[in-house]
């Protein structure tokens, strides 16, 4: 037994010594510094209510969309974009922005005839090609614009603008013919351009000071027509004189033409740092006053079932959809019944009745009132 014990003790001592030396302090595991990710918990109802902004930005007190890149701000713009004027139209790339601007910039002076010549003559030579193929047919463009007769901004002003233009056109043709063969269309276009300039001046800025400011605006707004001008001279070089005769009323056209440069919808609105938000406004709510106005309209249409006593629990929630024109789309749906079928149906009828009369809904917030949920509470709405 002694041999066993001694050998066992020796064995253990050796093993322990070995273990102490080899198993001592395992190397520290290198832990990479991992940046912690901050996670916010957002209530579900906040998701459909995101406002336009920057997804990566921090939440600011005041929601603000991405700041527009160009510095100038249109004071009461509703849309967001890079335009100088508030409009819905998408951006179209300009073939050659700079030369046009420069040429257009000087002309704003009163004599339209002279400048067109200056403008047009150089251009066709210089850049016949850059003109996009889509614009080759110049006629459709004016036609389109003809239909929306109420060209809002031009309408008020064209009257002054028109009178000057016709005369110039004739003059120009005469004058031009002497000098060179000048396309009438060009002349017209030019004449159009200039009226627009004049017409716009008041729009974008107070009338008297207009000149400095309108010029950039004109330059941009004038580009589209310019291209057409450019097209025409090339093709219609010979037929220019006739074009005048073709009941072409330059005045009207100038009145009808949309002088705005078709470009990115909306004017710039925000110069602030973008706030946290989505790509689009999704979940604006009707303001309390708008909601109240709607409720009042519905209350006016609501006939509470006769003989029923309005109690607290007779509250029905009805949801309904409105189409773009504010008309009822589909049937109202009883979201939460009051427990009384007559009351529910009377509420549905109220909506339908109001719809017949025409629901007044706040303009421009179609997204918001496309689907409405109204709580019909007899006490609140009817004062019962």
């Amino acid at each position: 037994m002694r041999t066993g014990l001694t050998s066992s003790v020796i064995l253990h001592t050796v093993a322990l010594a070995f273990g102490l030396f080899t198993l001592s302090s395992p190397p520290a595991m290198p832990a990479a510094d991992v940046e912690s990710v901050a996670v916010d918990i957002v209530p579900m109802e906040a998701v459909p209510q995101t406002l336009q902004g920057d997804k990566k930005s921090v939440m600011h007190e005041k929601p603000a969309p991405l700041p527009t890149k160009r510095p100038d701000v249109v004071p009461n713009a509703q849309k967001v974009g890079e335009n100088t004027v508030d409009t819905d139209k998408p951006v179209t790339d300009e073939a050659k922005p700079k030369p046009v601007e420069k040429t257009a910039a000087p002309p704003p002076a009163p004599t339209p005839t002279e400048k067109p010549a200056v403008e047009d003559v150089p251009k066709p030579q210089e850049k016949p090609k850059p003109i996009p193929a889509t614009e080759v047919a110049p006629t459709p463009a004016p036609k389109e614009e003809v239909k929306p007769e109420p060209v809002k901004q031009t309408d008020p002003k064209p009257t002054p603008a028109k009178e000057p233009t016709p005369a110039p056109t004739k003059d120009t043709t005469a004058a031009i013919q002497k000098e060179e063969v000048k396309p009438d269309a060009v002349a017209e276009a030019i004449s159009q351009d200039q009226p627009t300039d004049e017409a716009k001046l008041p729009d974008s800025a107070p009338a008297p000071q207009a000149r400095p400011k309108p010029q950039p605006a004109q330059a941009e707004s004038a580009k589209a027509p310019d291209r057409k001008d450019a097209d025409k001279p090339v093709k219609e070089a010979s037929s220019k004189p006739k074009s005048d005769d073709k009941q072409f009323n330059a005045d009207e056209i100038s009145a009808l033409l949309d002088k705005q440069k078709p470009s990115g919808g909306g004017a710039k609105r925000s110069t602030q740092q973008a706030s946290l938000g989505g790509e689009k406004d999704q979940g604006q709510k009707l303001s309390k006053s708008e909601e109240g106005a709607l409720r009042d309209q519905l209350a006016g249409c609501w006939t509470f079932p006769a003989g029923m006593e309005a109690t607290n629990d007779l509250i029905a929630v009805i949801s309904f959809n409105l189409d773009a024109s504010g008309k009822l789309d589909g049937l109202p749906v009883v979201e939460k019944s009051s427990g009384n079928r007559q009351v529910d149906e009377s509420a549905v009828r109220a909506i339908q009745k109001c719809n017949m009369a025409g629901l007044q809904v706040p303009a421009g917030k179609q997204d918001i009132w496309a689907q409405i949920k109204v709580t019909f509470d007899p006490r609140e709405m009817l004062g019962l």
Partner: protein, 236 residues
């Protein structure tokens, strides 16, 4: 648990350091397990040696026994020696035989019974010697893991108490205590695994040796019984 000491973060994590920073219960458990392990290995070594010696002795005895040598001579050579295994059984039987015949025993049946009893006794004694202390291996094999686990549980309990006291749950605070506690289980397993394996092997070996000796005792009993019959016939 008077010393709820917190292992300072980044403490030394060598085995010795782990042992030293453990609580006294855990230390006790670890020391006990170490002792058990030492004793287990002592038994294992001892038994391995003893069994191989026994196997050798059996082989040699069988060789001698079946060599045709007279039983009297064999008995004379073995009687004054310290015998083990078959030798001990043989000596016990022969002693009984001699005593009975020297005194002129009358009943051969009684003699046979006596000789068998003596051989059984010798066999049992031999088996006891073979299997002695194997029980400790069995106990260690089954209990050491639990003892180690006990140490671990106590150690983890202590370290959690320390964590609660420090109000810091960073891994560098938590880990040393747990590592130290787990050391107890490791030592328990270290003692238990060889014990279990050795127990299984040694007990089966002892069993084989026992069967071999039993076979010899039966055989020898048969030989003696034949001898008794012959003697009785001669007398008659």
């Amino acid at each position: 648990m008077e010393n709820i000491a917190l292992a300072e973060p980044g403490a030394h994590l060598s085995i010795w350091a782990l042992f030293m920073q453990a609580g006294w219960v855990v230390k006790l458990v670890m020391i006990g397990l170490l002792c058990a392990s030492i004793w287990t290995w002592a038994i294992i070594i001892d038994k391995l040696v003893a069994f191989s010696r026994m196997r050798l002795a059996l082989n040699r005895f069988e060789q001698v026994f079946w060599s045709g040598q007279s039983l009297e001579d064999l008995y004379r050579t073995l009687a004054d020696r310290k015998t083990t295994g078959m030798g001990a059984i043989f000596v016990a039987a022969m002693r009984e035989w001699k005593k009975s015949f020297e005194k002129g025993a009358k009943s051969p049946l009684a003699l046979q019974t006596r000789i068998d009893k003596a051989m059984d006794l010798a066999l049992t004694r031999e088996m006891e010697r073979l299997e002695g202390r194997l029980g400790f291996l069995a106990t260690t094999g089954s209990a050491a893991p639990f003892i180690g686990l006990f140490g671990t549980v106590i150690g983890i309990m202590t370290s959690f108490q320390a964590i609660a006291a420090s109000k810091n749950t960073s891994l560098s605070v938590v880990a040393p205590g747990i590592a130290e506690a787990l050391l107890a289980t490791a030592i328990g397993l270290l003692a238990a695994i060889p014990a279990v394996i050795a127990y299984n092997k040694l007990s089966s070996d002892a069993n084989k040796l026992g069967v071999r000796m039993e076979g010899f005792s039966d055989e020898f009993s048969a030989i003696l019984s034949r001898q008794i019959d012959e003697k009785v016939a001669q007398k008659v």
